[in-house]
Point group: C2
Chain length 227, copies 2
């Protein structure tokens, strides 16, 4: 068996559990973007003391889901076009780098696994055409695999632990369910092919384009909501 990434380990402590719950609540909008976080209220709601709650809040700040000001409390981040742009600028670069490194460091076995994963997603996606949740989970899964394949712990930490919840938040709250689903699969396929060919430069390029396309898709969504 391969080593499980720290971020994926099952919750052990109370702080871990409440962290996951609040993370989900924020990402899915149960706790509204921009709203104030009250420590006493959350403590009552999840039936624990403020100590583990504050631990959880510290980690939420780490993945940019909340912003804290000393002596003034925490607020859920507000989504904005500027924020989305900044986030995706970073993702294009970082995941491009991840691809380049994955082309150097992934084992043949790992590449085979990812290909099997894609085939699996493809078949299940063909069946449930409009369903966006599976696609999204699958998309994240693909990206996760590639990022882990880079074997760069700092890069893995930044992308998987710190940025991905925010990416998911934008996706979920803007309701990504467009016709990009099948296109994305082809792009994933091309990327893993480049990695399998050990062509890091191409994999980098393809991933940057893939994310840029995804960004344009979301921007379009935002624009439509604005009008």
């Amino acid at each position: 068996m391969h080593q499980v990434h720290p971020a994926l380990r099952q919750p052990i402590t109370a702080a871990d559990r409440v962290l996951q719950e609040i993370q989900r609540a924020i990402v899915e909008g149960d706790i509204a973007a921009g709203s104030k976080i009250s420590e006493p209220e959350l403590a009552r709601r999840f039936d624990l003391s403020r100590a583990p709650l504050r631990e959880a809040l510290a980690r939420l700040e780490r993945c940019h889901l909340i912003e804290r000001i000393p002596n003034a409390g925490a607020r859920v981040v507000t989504l904005s076009t500027a924020g989305l742009l900044a986030l995706y600028q970073l993702r294009e670069n970082l995941e491009g780098l991840a691809c380049k490194l994955a082309a150097e460091h992934m084992t043949d076995a790992e590449i085979t696994e990812v290909r099997q994963l894609l085939d699996q997603h493809l078949s299940s996606q063909r069946v449930r055409e409009g369903e966006s949740y599976y696609q999204e989970a699958g998309d994240l899964d693909f990206h996760y695999r590639v990022i882990l394949g880079s074997k760069n712990s700092y890069l893995i930490n930044i992308l998987c632990d710190e940025l991905y919840f925010l990416v998911r938040m934008y996706r979920v709250q803007l309701g990504m369910n467009g016709p990009r689903v099948s296109r994305a699969f082809d792009e994933h396929k091309a990327i893993i092919n480049a990695i399998a060919n050990r062509d890091g430069e191409l994999a980098d390029l393809l991933m940057r384009r893939h994310i840029a396309a995804s960004r344009r898709n979301i921007e379009l969504q935002l624009q439509q909501m604005g009008t």
Copy 2:
């Protein structure tokens, strides 16, 4: 006056103060790399309770200076060639991106300020030829300015808050004081020129080379220590 970056704000709370002290202690090696962190001991040493101390530890984990395992405690990170390589791989990309964005977003006034900063460093460096501390501080200052010039808050956060203490730790503990000082200044000059010309592509390239050169320099140092 320009807005002060959150990371640079003066300490308000007890957790902030102890964080800065421990950060310095780890970076400068007062607390040895790889050693275990004892919460009760540090609490006594800094004369405060464990609550703010744990807050500080959470932030130390955030900037990769310590590693925590639930119910088992925290250890100072151990420096390694692999870790150094991973860190600099990331820096090359991220700071390259920062340069590209800075070329797009820095104001003429900000560029002028950075140039004045460089002239200032050059003159004071000419005077104290071998002194490495000023050079290092100046180098970090230059990089900070460029990063802030990118105007991408996520990028700024990752580089200034999460990675730079680690970079400093490698530099300090490996005793960077070689003859690269004057070369580095020329490279800085070339980078800010490219930014001033709004040539993002060139600025990106030059910064990547600058950091790659710095990395090779440190690797050399490591190699010498190994023999």
